[in-house]
Amino acid sequence: MAIIGNSKYEERINHHIAKYETKRSAVMPLLYIAQEEYGWVNQDGINEVAQLLNLDPTQVKSIAGFYTMYSEKPKGVYWLQVCTDLPCALQGADDFHAWLKEELGVEEGGTSADGMFTVEHVMCLAACDKAPMLQCNFRYVEDLDQNKMRELLAKWRAEAAASMNGRSAE
């Protein structure tokens, strides 16, 4: 596993490096690529991004640490970020968030025992008219309630199981 020399990413990496006036500007898009490859921003990813951009790994790590969308530890298969900011909270998002954690048996920021779901609350996601809402692996899921969420959790579990079975059959 690597992003350097990986044909899957070569074109995108080159596109990002070319579009800015300085190499350093490509640090954010390249961190996303590292996160895609490793599932989180690990030291290997940081070292590779640093090498590609002629930066020190410490400089890259400081950028990764500043932003909430780079994960500095492994997450569950589904990373659920529930907006609990004021407009969503006025529509019951705090209760929804508490219920979801209880339903999955996780603490804030924790991952369910089966490794399937990580739950955390986040600040405003610009979807205030569709609360409660969350993003699942950066994809918005809006106008939620407990019933809808239970169905989604079952669906995602089934999808993950199907993909695991597919892999072991290969």
């Binding site: 900011d85 529509q91 600040m123």
Partner: protein, 416 residues
Amino acid sequence: MHILLRGRDIDNIKQLAVYEKHDGFAGMKKALAMTPAEVIDVVKASGLRGRGGAGFPTGVKWSFIPQHEPVKFVTINADESETGTFKDREIMEENPYQLIEGSLICAYAIQAKAVYIYLRGEFWDIGDQLDECIEALREKGFVGKNIMGSGYDCEVYTHLGAGAYICGEESALLNSLEGYLGQPRVRPPFPAQKGGGLYKEATVVNNVETLANVPYIMSEGADAFKAIGTEQSAGNKIYCVSGHVKRSGNYELPMGTTFRELLYDHAGGPLYEDRPFKAMLPSGGSGPIVPLTDEVLDTPMSYEDCANIGTIIGSASIIVMDETVDMTWVASKVTKFFKHESCGKCTPCREGTYWLDKVIDRILDGRGSPDDVKRIADVAENMAGTTLCALGDFAANPIIHTIRHFPDDFAQHVQS
């Protein structure tokens, strides 16, 4: 009539052929037939003001760019992160070409080398769509070398943030785009000046909604735009309504429409019939809260009229709360937002938001004293005006104004 949210009136306007059929790029063609200075004059005459919150006259901002500088940039603030704001998202999802056309007109007016669209990271799918739009325009000769045969060259790129409210602050946005921590810069030099902008070159930073107005201004003329709205607040504005109303959502209406018309006629009034409105935040978490009195409801939503009731229209992210909402809890919610989003550069904001959050938690837990209410007001007043960017002021606002307007909401938690 929608000038901005045209995706609601015209099916598939997000397709280039449909956009072109409905006057798409007519404004751009007109602009390219003028000199850059003439384009700036038209935008100045239209009275368009920045829609990101500050309301600075757009044409004046463009005119600050020194013409003799060889390299200049346009940066679009699509970081849309203010609590309660979701308007730029709809423009970019449903009417993306209008934003790109507006930004190209701006780029031509200041003779920029390139446009960078800075999107909040969560908008990656919007970024993908914009990338496709840019490629479609490149194929037509509307982006890249010799745009529309005019001899003018300009590139357009997207850039994704990664979850940081502060990157909506223009100098932090520029730092983030350059690959540094998204923290504000010391000004001067301002972004429009050599040394202060992107890669130290003179740069215009405009909000999405601001630039999406520009094609209309160019094609229909400054007078047509100025005829909409009020004397000092021209044009339409997208009002994002959330909270305790029946129909939350975006509403594009002329500036100067009253809060009453927006909240009752359009948003349907209180969510629950037996729970009347109590208060509203007219500019997300960052603007002063106001009680929803008859006087406030009858106030026109314009830059000048909102100043008269002690608040701002800002980005027009209107969060409505009914009588069941405890304003101490609101102060806590908004403070937790700013505590999380403080970038850590300036001590009053970094430490102040932390202290405020701690003391408000104590008050809400019933462990606070009347002195604690005075204490948070004092901390907030000492934060205001002491930081490099406005986030420090924004974080002070919810405390100062909730205590001012709703003292009883705080008093109920600290009675011994």
